[in-house]
């Protein structure tokens, strides 16, 4: 599991490589939780090197989104997600809960 975080002035960038599945999703969840527990709720999730997301991964993203958006204090946005994962999120009927950017810089800049 390969997760990196970078704090910017107006948001936090989280980048993960590989799969988000039963083995790795909880680690990703813990990473997001550490950010929100620190009182920061504007997160960009760089998915440029994520190649697989199962339902537990979707659950982690949505659970984090709920936390971030509560009281309008922030948001989790997705950047550079591949077409197959985007298609699957859409198929599940859950894509509308996220803003999706093609580009990480654009996502970070949106804050």
């Amino acid at each position: 599991m390969d997760i990196k975080t970078q704090q910017y002035r107006r948001c936090d960038l989280v980048k993960m490589k590989g799969r988000i599945d039963s083995q790795t999703a909880h680690g990703l969840g813990d990473t997001f939780k550490a950010i929100t527990d620190g009182g920061r709720f504007r997160i960009v999730f760089d998915m440029s090197e994520v190649d697989f997301v199962s339902s537990i991964g979707i659950w982690v993203l949505l659970d984090t989104q709920k936390t971030c958006k509560r009281y309008n204090r922030g948001e989790l946005v997705i950047a550079a997600v591949n077409e197959k994962i985007r298609y699957t999120l859409d198929l599940a009927g859950l894509i509308h809960f996220f803003k999706i950017y093609d580009d990480v810089l654009e996502a970070v800049g949106s804050y």
Partner: protein, 135 residues
């Protein structure tokens, strides 16, 4: 029909994925269809581990694949508790974010991805999940 058997552990799922991918390619599925089939298989196997067996390392999962013309058939067998899909209420995702409940996402994905899904159980305690995808 080719078969592989793995231990019911999350780390085994990569082997099932690799196994199924070969047959997806043989059935002529494109990249996106192959990816979604692997998601469906991962969901099904995760459900077997978590719900049929109630945890990792409690039983094996057998995966069989068959390709006939443009149709891929995947059969998963386990000896855990049987599953009745009717017992999982259909989730409603058209609700405000804070009201969203995600129970059943895995099953929804399986049903939307695959062309057919059938859950059966034999009298001697084997659960059989058959999933079919046409290219």
């Amino acid at each position: 029909m080719s078969t592989t058997t793995v231990s019911g552990r999350f780390k085994s799922l990569a082997r099932i994925s690799e196994f199924v991918s070969q047959f997806a390619e043989e059935a002529g599925l494109d990249e996106t269809a192959t990816y979604t089939v692997l998601v469906a298989v991962d969901e099904a196997c995760t459900n077997i581990i978590e719900h049929a067996y109630g945890g990792e390392g409690r039983g094996d999962i057998q995966c069989a694949c068959d390709v006939k013309e443009d149709t891929l058939t995947i059969i998963l067998r386990d000896r855990g508790d049987p599953f009745d899909p009717a017992s999982v209420p259909e989730p409603d995702f058209n609700v405000p974010l804070q009201e969203l409940k995600l129970r059943g996402v895995g099953l929804v994905l399986m049903q939307k991805i695959m062309d057919e899904i059938k859950f059966t159980s034999t009298p001697d305690g084997e659960n059989i999940l058959t999933m079919i995808k046409r290219s």
